[in-house]
Symmetry: C2
Subunit: 277 residues, 2 copies
């Protein structure tokens, strides 16, 4: 890839941009929001750039293709993570080369295959968190989670790439059925799709579905990061009405559910669940 500007120029330029879009929060944008004894620069975080790392606008569709390929290379969590990190690593080297992306292998299949948090979400969220301070990362990751629960996967774009053999690897060129997970969980996401599509969870079609989903998550993470960089980020996810209804007692009166929980309660708590539980 052609090196258009030097890394030094990039870091200088990007740091200015980050500061420019962080009116009133200059310190928070270039220093950890908190950290304590072991989070201070000089102990942890002595890489060549202070966290949060500079971010330069990336190509959303490039991220989609990289995420799709990354799924086949190392699973959903690795795929989404490296799709965001690799373009910067290839172009600028350190600090983007300092994190071994293989550390995200563990997130595949909802964490060692357990079906918990979707690995593509986990990897995309980890990548986002390299570039944003704690407060902004929380907002952007929350938006990513919300988008995930309602988006039909694979996206139209990913289905087009698959059927037209645009992806960097081609293991399946079928048009795949789209389902929304209504959950952040791998198990709910995969089982809903497998049930609706008729393809078994261990089928190559299901793998391809998750590869396209990984690309979609990486692409959306890049879109959100680009929006933050351009001072255009706006959270659009609206908490489902069922959550507000349940939180009316469980969050406010009984207070045994954290107010920050935003997943549709009735995805697991069916109307015929024992309400005393």
């Amino acid at each position: 890839m052609k090196r258009q500007i030097t890394r030094k120029e990039f870091l200088a330029k990007t740091t200015k941009t980050v500061v420019a879009v962080s009116a009133g929060a200059v310190a928070a944008s270039v220093l950890p929001a908190s950290g304590g004894q072991w989070g201070q620069a000089g102990v942890i975080n002595t890489a060549s750039a202070a966290w949060p790392w500079p971010y330069s606008a990336l190509d959303r569709e490039d991220a989609r293709k990289r995420g799709h390929k990354g799924y086949y290379d190392g699973g959903c969590c690795y795929g989404a993570f490296i799709a965001v990190l690799a373009p910067l690593a290839e172009r600028f080297g350190a600090p983007y080369t300092n994190v071994p992306a293989q550390m995200m292998y563990y997130g595949a299949g909802g964490g060692a295959g357990w079906g918990s948090l979707c690995g593509a979400l986990n990897g995309a969220a980890a990548a986002i968190s390299l570039f944003l301070d704690r407060s902004r990362a929380t907002s952007v990751v929350s938006e990513l989670f919300g988008w995930y629960t309602t988006a039909p996967f694979p996206s139209d774009i990913s289905n087009d790439y698959g059927t037209q053999r645009v992806f960097l690897v081609n293991r399946c060129d079928k048009l795949l059925k789209q389902t929304a997970a209504a959950s952040t969980l791998c198990h709910a996401s995969v089982s809903t799709w497998s049930t609706a599509s008729g393809f078994k969870t261990e089928s190559s079609e299901r793998s391809e579905r998750c590869a396209r989903l990984t690309g979609d998550c990486a692409a959306h993470a890049v879109e959100l990061l680009n929006d933050v960089s351009a001072a255009k980020f706006r959270a659009t996810f609206v908490t489902p009405p069922s959550v507000a209804a349940c939180q009316g007692c469980h969050g406010s009166a009984i207070q045994n559910v954290r107010p920050s929980v935003k997943e549709d309660c009735q995805r697991c708590h069916k109307p015929n669940w024992d309400h005393r539980f």
Copy 2:
């Protein structure tokens, strides 16, 4: 902290140890299990040591105290992650200083507060994944997840540290009720504890419960890593009988649930759930 051996000596010594405990898997122990175009050393992973990074046996109780403090510094995910990474970073510098631990802030509260995968589990799993190849990390992280679902939190040790003011920070010295989550999810873990203990989810007691749990997860991660280093690791988690029963159809016949899913199905799928869903 007294520097007992040089980093160079440590890396040389530890690499030998890693190789020694990896009979038949020498290449896998010092090189990525896979990676593809963007995962190769030279692009990503050009830090000063090739992934997986060398691991040296750590003090389990030190990790428990660091995890507890880390929770208050940056949340559960950050706390569990830095509790494992910081001792090596403090002692040996790079490559352990290359990953900004603040990137794990996002995992707090099950990911931006959403209540999905417990952040302490997520952070501990990420830390484990720095030191083990993909296959071994999957085994160890799966064991960590299994342990989490059945362990009573806070552990006896953490409760003792809390009541006796042994922890590095003291925000609550109460003896806290112990509950098992029967789930990897933050929401299930927190709400079960809050319901059983009577302490609200936003109370300082619940925060302290999660701080102690974070320490417990970091300590167990260290224990598992120490076991791997000493060639003593054995997976002990047994998949719940309900999972085997459900997978009898859903995994083997219907095949709409991944065989790797190991969480107790009936934690969400109550007996009175619509079985057609």
